[in-house]
């Protein structure tokens, strides 16, 4: 099995005619994702020609894509000024899952958007994330398909390209994945570590988890405590930024919220205290996973 997306996913691409949207639509179709529609306001009625001659209809609104093509998931590549609006439109149109790839959406636009999406009961991944891939079934977003392979490991990461590195390490060691999820690094994101860990916990085919975090905030620590209480499969963690210099910080607000909890050292300590094996470098995630799988 896999989480969030699989071969029943019917995807609409918002921003399908842009540089990134069109490039990655080709990549998603080539991977086997069922892309059923595109949306670019003003280009409704045209179509997008994917490799192999498949013609994907373009609509002006997500609502049409849902009504006419049965879209049940959306991926968003529209520019930052319009992306928060695009997320709300997709949620309002009734898709069950949205992945927002766009980087640079104003954070206060996202606080309102997050509240709307939550009320609509829609799962939002991102923004500013690479999306996700269920190897052999579907990919939504920009994770390169060729570095993945089907198998028993779930991968969740706050970073984009570091997710690829982790997946690449597993695949090169012959260890496949159920689903690889990049949750994004923005302050306001739709899906956090615990949401993904919980979905992996409910997936009978996920037998081990790799969790990739970064310095800053307390999300990883909260997730680690959750893992201890709720998961009985092996989890391996990596934290990027072990050597990052301390920043010049203005104001006290950040420190009042999180104290000094944001360093890599602190996060790795909390991982270990909660039974998560810590990898010191990306290559080191392989052996504890292999051991955990009984290999």
């Amino acid at each position: 099995m896999s989480i969030f997306i699989d071969d029943s996913t019917r995807l609409v691409v918002q921003g399908i005619t842009g540089r990134d949207g069109s490039f990655h639509t080709h990549q998603m179709v080539a991977y086997g994702t069922n892309v059923v529609a595109g949306v670019t306001p003003g280009k409704g009625g045209q179509s997008f020609e994917a490799e192999g001659g498949k013609r994907i209809p373009i609509f002006n609104t997500v609502e049409e894509a849902v009504r006419k093509e049965g879209a049940n998931a959306s991926v968003i590549y529209v520019p930052p000024a319009f992306a928060a609006g695009a997320i709300v439109e997709a949620a309002d149109a009734g898709v069950a899952f949205i992945a927002a790839i766009t980087e640079g959406i104003p954070v206060q636009d996202m606080t309102r958007t997050y509240a709307f999406v939550k009320d609509a009961g829609v799962r939002l991944l991102g923004p500013n994330c690479p999306g996700l891939i269920s190897p052999g079934k579907a990919k939504v977003g920009i994770i390169p398909g060729q570095i993945t392979m089907p198998g028993p490991v779930g991968v969740v990461s706050r970073s984009g390209t570091l997710t690829y590195e982790a997946v690449f390490q597993l695949t090169r060691a012959g260890i496949g994945q159920t689903t690889c999820v990049g949750i994004g690094g923005d302050p306001i994101i739709g899906t956090n570590f615990i949401d993904v860990l919980s979905a992996f916990g409910d997936d009978p085919e996920t037998e081990a988890i790799v969790m990739i975090g970064e310095i800053g905030g307390t999300d990883e620590q909260e997730a680690a405590a959750w893992v201890r209480e709720n998961l009985d499969i092996p989890v391996v963690g990596f934290i990027a930024g072990q050597t990052a210099p301390p920043g010049r910080r203005m104001g006290h607000a950040g420190a009042i919220i999180s104290g000094s909890a944001g360093t890599a050292e602190e996060k790795m300590k909390v991982f270990e205290a909660n039974g998560i094996a810590v990898a010191r470098r990306p290559a080191d995630i392989r052996s504890p996973i292999a051991e955990g799988l009984g290999g």
Partner: protein, 378 residues
Amino acid sequence: MDIHEYQAKELFRNAGIPVPPGEVATTPEEAGEIAGRLGGTVVVKAQVHAGGRGKAGGVKLAASAAEAQEHASRILGMEIKGLTVEKVLVTPAEDIASEAYVGIVIDRATQAALFMVSPEGGIDIEEVASTNPDAIRKLRVDPRYGLLPHQAYLLGSFLYPDVKLARQAAKVMEQLYDAFTTNHCSMAEINPLIVTPEGELKAIDAKVSIDDSALFQLPEVATFRDLEAEPESETQAREAGLSFVKLDGNVGCCVNGAGLAMATMDLVKYYGGDPANFLDIGGSSNPDKVVSALKIITDDPNVKAILFNIFGGITRCDDVANGIVEATKRIDIRPPIVIRLTGTNEEEALEILKEAGFSAYTSMDEVVEKAVELAASA
């Protein structure tokens, strides 16, 4: 984007928050003139993007214009946490009956703006947070409804038992929330918010960070950016759409994605080297960005080897390869370059590099080890 105290106060003034008058000086003479105009005792305050100014000697009381000029001559040019003071704010000294803390921040945990207020304001507020958390009241603001009147009053009355003061403070809360949303702040702080002996509230220090992603909607706030407050290489990088932080090592790093960039620096250290910088070329790539990146890295004379670690997703490896080839034609690059490229359009990229006489690694450990070795033997 961090802005200076005097700029933050301008935003607060526009929102109606009571802020004492004050002007900015770049020379001691100007500071003296402003002090003379204001009359009475003034405070001369260093304007830098760093906390702890008072403890560093960057905030001084002056009883006369001559004394203000003297303080300014010592504060201007002073270094605070590695930053040179280019400007001072001259503002009247206030009599203080009590000091409170008021802050708003975008909070990851509650996914919204979060108010934090404490009657125990001042420079030791972080100490208060860890030793006496009950002295801080937090309140999440629902972004759809904004700060509601009863919430503003709750916050105000947490600071002041006196109803009149609580009402004044509630008004400041509403005004601060207004400034916070209008200007897309990620953090806005009044510390301290004082009560004068006459029973008036005044914001006598202000700290604000603006969400960089919103600056395109805020042309006036965008002009607040102080180019002298950051190293020139960081200015160049930002203008080229790169994220860059200069460090002291000798391995120049060019990576796509902040997480991978940090992991690459960690690995340089792991293999016994020292990174010269953090550099993230960002998502959507074009060859020009890579040329700019290489220019910024090679401008640093400490750099003895250049390490590319590119994992293509939305960044296409062929764009990066074209950028590297283009850069070697346009600029003279002395240090050796080692390249790791994998992911989207990897094969096209390897072809481009091969034609130009470069080879590329596919493993991150191998390329980092090689870069550290080259830097050490240079």
